[in-house]
Symmetry: C2
Subunit: 326 residues, 2 copies
């Protein structure tokens, strides 16, 4: 029986085989280090599942799967510099472990290798459009990251702005991962479109769930202390919806909390903002918007011309992740 | 009459038309800023001249020409961070003017747009190989930059190591610029090879000339104060050849100077090291090696299946730059 864990084994073996072994070591070691930190390999699995909707020989999708994983890790490496993040997955970030210059240059070469692996896909007639898809996604991710940075200091961020930002920063790559799998399989454009839309809408649902779990998640299963986004004054959907729904006095209270950076009052702040959000029904609004995206995503899977059990494999995998989110 | 300055006008118009105008401004402004600082546009002109060896409609090479110029500027933007360079062409570098994060992310998006423009080339059957060429060149440039960084602290750097480094860091992109022009024109593989080799060997000659002019150039025409490489203890061909040729006492003297970072003795150091190099006949060795590369480069042009006057246009342009180098 084909399962996602078979796909994961296949990908992990390909990743090990294709670890960077060439010189100069100072360029490639940080790339291997970050790629080996693990993660669920969501994006390459989506590429493989996208391919598998149309063809059995899923090994042929491995170069494209590697491309999206390399691209994702490039963006993590550079984002961690910009966010001054000291750790990732409990280990030192690349710029912390190897220095700023290594994190810049290794990130750059990983981005190039994303294109390099993509162009190893056998179906040569699909390659120009596959490269264009990676271009589009990569531009979207850079723009999304810039909007995320801009929003930190912007005084007016609307809910639509936020949704646009996460569509670029998070959902575009999930959409592109599925689409590239379909393209590598030679799927018709219409099916490429349905998979891309499923990925985009599911990506938005993932991010909304991520924002929700950051405040309301069970710390034991979510793995992080709740309220990290609140402490950092992150303008998530929850915060922006709360502002929208708030009475003038609640609005004032929220805005006041989001001006503090005081570490000592962080716990108090998380409790106060969480209570406000609960009073304003924000968990329900967030679940609603997440579910709307999920429902719309499913409509695209219904229209996809693929075998039912293969569609189910994809949908079940995507849903199994929703509890943990991206 | 077709001249290189016609090509330059054509490219500059295309560059202006295709300046980034989209949002978010914070992402694209630094890219426009750096691209507008000017320069001789050597790499895009090589792409256009490479194309013109085979076809008249040189406007068709503009997307590929834009790709190599974007790639070059991406690498400048990130290298300037790594080198902590405060200025470029007399203006503030991007990380100085816009901050570190802007220089990282704008550089990233320029690299992606290099691929984006490349894929706008009309000859679609050439696109997979053109993307592979850009991949190869981009990897070489990243590796060359890493070797350059490594050499700063390495105790043993040989002349061969140095030549390999400049081949990757400088010559590979000049070779690739010409090759991409030939590919966009649908030239036979053999001619692509001869243009690539001409570019590679000319690129090595350019860098040797650059190193030579940094010490022995006329400051009025070269535009920089001589001896910058010596002050910075750069292990150029001149220094490494001097070490090779030196008597034990000269070797000691050279090595001693290259351990100082004292700003106050910089002028004295430049005079002393320059005199040592003259005593050791280094100017002559450098000219010889440069000329060898040039001669070998010309052999490839002789074998190129193109019209004599078009070959001349390319060769004359390349030679006209040698006095000023890259």
């Amino acid at each position: 029986m084909t399962t996602v864990s078979n796909f994961l084994q296949l990908f992990d073996a390909y990743l090990r085989e294709n670890a960077f072994r060439q010189a100069p070591a100072a360029l490639y070691e940080p790339a291997n280090y970050l790629m080996a930190l693990g993660g669920k390999r969501l994006r390459p699995l989506l590429t493989m599942l996208g391919y598998y909707q149309f063809r059995d020989d899923v090994g042929q999708s491995l170069p494209a799967a590697m491309a999206v994983e390399l691209f994702h890790n490039f963006s993590l490496m550079h984002d961690d510099i910009m966010d001054q993040a000291p750790t990732r997955r409990g280990k030192a970030t690349v710029h912390t472990a190897y220095g700023l210059n290594a994190a810049i240059l290794s990130g750059d070469v990983m981005l190039v290798y994303a294109y390099d692996f993509l162009m190893r896909t056998q179906r040569s007639e699909a390659l120009p459009d596959m490269a264009r898809t990676l271009n589009r996604v990569a531009i979207q991710v850079c723009e999304g990251q810039q909007y995320d940075v801009d929003f930190e200091t912007a005084s007016q961020v609307g809910i639509a702005d936020y949704l646009h930002m996460i569509e670029l920063k998070t959902a575009a790559l999930l959409a592109g991962s599925l689409e590239l799998g379909a393209m590598a399989a030679g799927a018709p454009q219409e099916d490429q479109y349905h998979l891309r839309e499923f990925g985009r809408l599911t990506g938005l649902a993932f991010q909304l769930q991520d924002d929700y779990l950051d405040v309301f998640g069970n710390p034991e299963t979510f793995g992080k202390r709740p309220g990290g986004d609140i402490v950092q004054n992150k303008k998530t959907f929850l915060y922006l919806k709360a502002l929208e729904q708030a009475t003038p006095s609640q609005h004032q209270e929220l805005a006041r909390w989001y001006q503090t950076h005081d570490e000592n009052s962080a716990a108090e702040k998380v409790i106060a903002v969480t209570r406000l959000m609960e009073q304003l029904n924000i968990p329900e609004y967030t679940r609603q918007l997440r579910d709307e995206h999920q429902r719309e995503a499913l409509l695209h899977i219904e229209q996809l011309a693929a075998r039912e059990e293969r569609k189910e494999l994809l949908v079940n995998y995507a849903y199994s992740l929703l509890d943990r989110a991206v």
